[in-house]
């Protein structure tokens, strides 16, 4: 079949984008439009499902099928859709409040079921659409409209939550690093099973610069480490720092001080998530925060495959259903 060659513009809907000027969401939208044509999936086979929040307006701006659903529930709509229409490519667009607060339950259950969908979690560590309350990823002590004396909640780390929920693909990227972001979206789309990509996204109105340590070009090399499968975790302006596993914790070392063999080598395919979990927990300022694919394991059955395989198997074993036979089976009697 000859598929028409699509460009990013072909994925733009006719709707005006209504995010605040300077919002990190624009960058994610642009990367998505850029990546989709590379996947070779026709537009009508793609569905974007979102919850509620700034990020969740995303489907309206894509010229694909889409649903702007209910706060926190996007993964559940995706579950019903993908289970019955495995031929579709389904993306879930969510935010830190949507996925981790009101939708925390659905988030973990989608991940453990390993439904073949891609969840893109825009993390700006604040409630934007409701104008500036703290979110489940806001820092302790953060002063917001609803925490004038500082937040007393301990923040959730989306990557840790995902690993604990037995996710098969876990990655992180950021709005400011478009090339990396595009690559992560592509990797997520290629993974069979639930893919989670956390995207650091700047809310320039209510939480401007909250992740500047990772996003600003100058600070980024010292405060983040780009993961590569089979490679050590080298970072720093001069690529002179690395991470080492000592006992049951990770520490930062100078590459000059330790033999290369001592450095932690990233294994995204390791079925045991223990070290991946340690890496997920690396937080600024003590440690560089990991960017890239933390975990990508294969061979775990997907929910959509299994629910449909059971139908196929039942049809093979019992033959296709015969309704008249079903309702007429068992003890019956005739009235003449």
């Amino acid at each position: 079949m000859n598929l028409p060659v699509l460009k990013a513009a072909d994925f733009a809907s006719d709707q005006d984008v209504r995010w605040c000027p300077g919002c990190g969401d624009y960058s994610i939208l642009a990367q998505m439009k850029k990546v989709l044509p590379e996947l070779g999936v026709p537009r009508e086979k793609i569905v974007f499902i979102s919850g509620i929040g700034c990020s969740s307006r995303f489907p309206y701006y894509m010229n694909t099928y889409g649903m702007h659903s209910i706060h926190g529930r996007a993964p559940t709509f995706a579950t019903g859709l993908k289970s019955t229409r495995p031929d579709l490519m389904v993306w879930v667009i969510t935010g830190d409040g949507d996925a981790l607060s009101i939708g925390g339950n659905h988030f973990i259950h989608a991940l453990r079921r390993n439904l073949d969908v891609n969840i893109i979690l825009f993390n700006n560590r604040i409630y934007g659409l409701t104008k500036g309350q703290y979110s489940p990823t806001s820092s302790e002590g953060q002063v917001t409209k609803s925490t004038p004396m500082g937040s007393i909640d301990h923040p959730l780390n989306p990557l840790s939550v995902a690993l604990a929920a037995e996710a098969t693909f876990v990655a992180r990227s950021m709005d400011a690093n478009v090339k990396h972001l595009g690559a992560m979206l592509k990797r997520a789309s290629e993974h069979k099973g639930t893919s989670l990509v956390e995207v650091y996204q700047n809310c320039n109105v209510f939480n401007d610069g909250a992740m500047a340590y990772a996003q600003e070009r100058k600070q980024r090399p010292n405060n983040t480490v780009e993961l590569e499968h089979g490679k050590p975790l080298i970072f720093g302006e001069n690529k002179d720092k690395a991470v080492r596993l000592v006992g049951n914790h990770l520490e930062v070392v100078n590459t000059a001080d330790v033999p290369a063999d001592d450095l932690l080598i990233h294994d995204e395919k390791d079925m045991n998530p223990a070290i991946q979990m340690m890496m997920a927990r690396m937080r600024y300022p003590e440690m560089p925060e990991p960017m890239g694919v933390l975990r990508a394991v294969e061979g775990v059955a997907t929910y959509d495959d299994q629910i449909n395989d059971q139908v196929t198997e039942a049809k093979e074993k019992k033959g296709p259903g015969d309704l008249q036979k079903l309702i007429s089976a068992g003890d019956t009697w005739d009235v003449a």
Binding site: P42, G66, F77, V335
Partner: protein, 626 residues
């Protein structure tokens, strides 16, 4: 296996028998009741049942709270209820006796497992002395004390089972005795034993031995002088089976899927009394049924909406508390204008309420339990067998109008059973669904354009050129784009309401049992059909000018309801709630209605309805016929 032996004692022919079997939750009373029901149905009787059991799986043994009962009426004439007063009561322990005796009619048969009436059990049942010893008992009822535990042990002794296992057979002994007393065939239960326990031959033969011993006890002991015979009922011609409400509902959903050439997706979360629909449906994956046990009620309904968006026949089910959680999503389904069915098998409320008891108190929740202006069609089956047709009705309305339809069942219908004439599925009208084909791209696709029924097109993902976005924000008429325009919101609100209201043009006019005008009209809905119908029939037989309208389509109501209400001097609305339909009828038609209301976890007794009808009816005028 040999066939049922014949009794040599006298047989008295009666038109109907109401019997209740009561014992501890673990005594197997539900099994006994189901077997007696099936056997009676196979004998050609009309049957109606009322299982009544505690919410706890194993409530404290021997206590009143742990009593599990199963009532069945079988008759040689058409019946609509499981009966009011009991002709016979079988009790396995003191708790069962003291909690059920008040329903046994004077002169009725009381069969007690004498071995269960011991000191320890009196304490558990909180009775001071053996209730069987009270002189009033012997004076009021025909009492048969049978040492069932002992006799069962003797009967199964040769099968070498442990005493614990042997004692579990005593419900089969009780069954054998009941079968003898009412001239029932042992054959269906013998077949059941073989199917159920075939893999454990010792258990199977012990149960058979207990069943036969019970029958033989009735035949040989002098205490029982005669047995009773109930002839086959004159039902309309056809092939029948016994069916339970939730089973009929599950099969109706499968039928609706087949009639509309769709696969069925069922997203749900376990809840009493709806879970049996899931258990039933998940057996039929070869029909293309996909069941999804979600992480919660919200996930269940939202997965259903997701499946509906993809073009599948999508259904969710719950009971009142779960429906409360689904409210927001039902509103979304409404504004997305996607077809689906939301089943509510009602139970006693509010909150967790009475999980295993019946009630009709979610009608107003169905009407108004969502934010904003969000009317949804409501269909309510009237009996277990009717659930089959109601499911098909609900899906037909949902797809014609592109709207979620609420199907309101209740615990009484769900767990009750009745003979059901097996329909010829090839004769049921198909449900035609069209999905728009791909557009060539010249004309922009209008996802919220409407047809003559005001339904929008069901364009499904995968269709080229019809890409569109739906969502919970108000939609612009036609384009479906987000719109905050004041006039558009008014228009869309009106359209969605009008669409539902227009269903009244296509549903049948309200039928009336009796004349279409007169002194008294009884209006009912849902599971109270049987009691209301029987009560009205009794009153008619006594010469009252009374009619009965049982409403199946609760939203919108049939077109002629208003005229009908105005054609009677008195309108009585019996409901197992505190007056919900009454409120709607008064509000809509400005007709006064008198409520007969109770929330006691039990269906209406016919006698209490007859009494209430007589109390509220206007002084009787001479009937024209009389």
């Amino acid at each position: 296996m040999t066939a049922t032996p014949k009794t040599s004692k006298d047989v008295q022919s009666v038109t109907g028998i109401t019997v209740r079997l009561a014992g501890d939750s673990g005594d197997g009373m539900q099994l006994l009741g189901t077997q007696l029901t099936n056997t009676s149905a196979l004998a050609g009787n009309d049957v109606a049942t009322f299982p009544d059991f505690p919410a706890e799986i194993r409530a404290p043994r021997g206590t009143r709270a742990g009593v599990s009962g199963f009532q069945v009426q079988f008759a040689s004439e058409e019946i609509f209820t499981p009966g009011d007063q009991l002709d016979a009561l079988v009790v396995m322990n003191p708790a069962a006796m003291v909690t059920n005796l008040s329903d046994l009619r004077k002169g009725g048969i009381l069969i007690a497992n004498e071995d269960g009436f011991i000191e320890k059990e009196f304490k558990l049942a909180k009775v001071e002395a053996n209730p069987l010893d009270a002189s009033v008992i012997e004076e009021t009822y025909r009492v048969f004390k049978v040492p069932m535990t002992e006799l069962t042990r003797l009967a199964v002794a040769e099968h070498g089972l442990s005493q614990k296992i042997a004692d579990r057979c005593k419900n089969f002994f009780a069954m054998g005795l009941v079968y003898w007393l009412f001239g029932r065939s042992l054959d269906p239960t013998l077949r059941f034993i073989e199917n159920k326990f075939g893999g454990k031959p010792d258990v199977a033969s012990a149960n058979e031995a207990a069943l036969r011993a019970g029958w033989a006890y009735g035949e040989t002991t002098e205490a029982f002088g005669e047995s009773y015979q109930v002839e086959a009922a004159e039902l309309s011609k056809g092939t029948y089976r016994n069916i339970m409400g939730n089973q009929a509902l599950a099969w109706g959903l499968i039928a609706a899927a087949e009639l509309s050439d769709k696969d069925l997706f069922y997203g749900t979360y376990p809840i009493t009394p709806a879970s049996d629909i899931l258990h039933e449906l998940t057996k039929y994956k070869n029909f293309g049924v996909r069941t999804f046990q979600a992480e919660d009620e919200i996930a269940a309904v939202c997965s259903t909406i997701g499946a509906a968006f993809g073009g599948t026949m999508a259904v969710t089910a719950s009971s009142g508390p779960g429906i409360a959680l689904k409210g927001e999503a039902m509103g979304l389904g409404m504004i997305l204008e996607l077809p689906m069915i939301v089943i509510n098998v009602q139970r006693g409320g509010p909150s967790t309420g009475l999980p295993t008891k019946t009630e009709q108190s979610d009608l107003l929740q169905s009407m108004f339990g969502r934010n904003g202006e969000s009317p949804l069609p409501i269909v309510a089956p009237r009996s277990p067998g009717d659930c089959f047709a109601a499911a098909i009705d609900a899906w037909r309305i949902a797809t014609e109008c592109m709207v979620p339809v609420i199907l309101l069942s209740d615990g009484y219908i769900a767990n009750g059973s009745e003979p059901w004439k097996i329909p010829d599925v090839s004769q049921i009208e198909k449900i035609t669904i069209t999905h728009p084909e791909g557009a060539d791209g010249d004309e922009p696709f209008m996802p919220y354009a409407r047809d003559e029924k005001l339904a929008r097109p069901w364009a499904i993902p995968g269709t080229e050129g019809l890409m569109h976005r739906v969502g919970g924000l108000e939609k612009e008429d036609g384009t479906g784009n987000v719109s905050y325009d004041p006039a558009n919101h008014q228009l869309m609100t009106d359209r969605r309401a009008e669409k539902v209201a227009m269903i009244a043009e296509r549903i049948p006019d309200q039928e009336v049992f009796g004349e279409t005008s007169g002194d008294t009209l009884v209006v009912s809905w849902g599971g109270t059909y049987g009691s209301c119908h029987t009560a009205v029939a009794q009153c008619q037989a006594e010469g009252m000018r009374i009619s009965h309208a049982h409403i199946r389509y609760l939203n919108p109501l049939p077109k002629n309801i208003g005229d009908l209400l105005r054609s009677f001097k008195t309108v009585i609305v019996p409901e197992l709630n505190m007056g919900q339909l009454r409120l709607l009828l008064r509000a809509e038609y400005l007709v006064d209605c008198i409520g007969v209301n109770k929330v006691q976890g039990k269906p209406f007794a016919v006698t209490e309805l007859v009494a209430a009808i007589k109390e509220h009816s206007v002084p009787q005028t001479k009937s024209k016929a009389g």
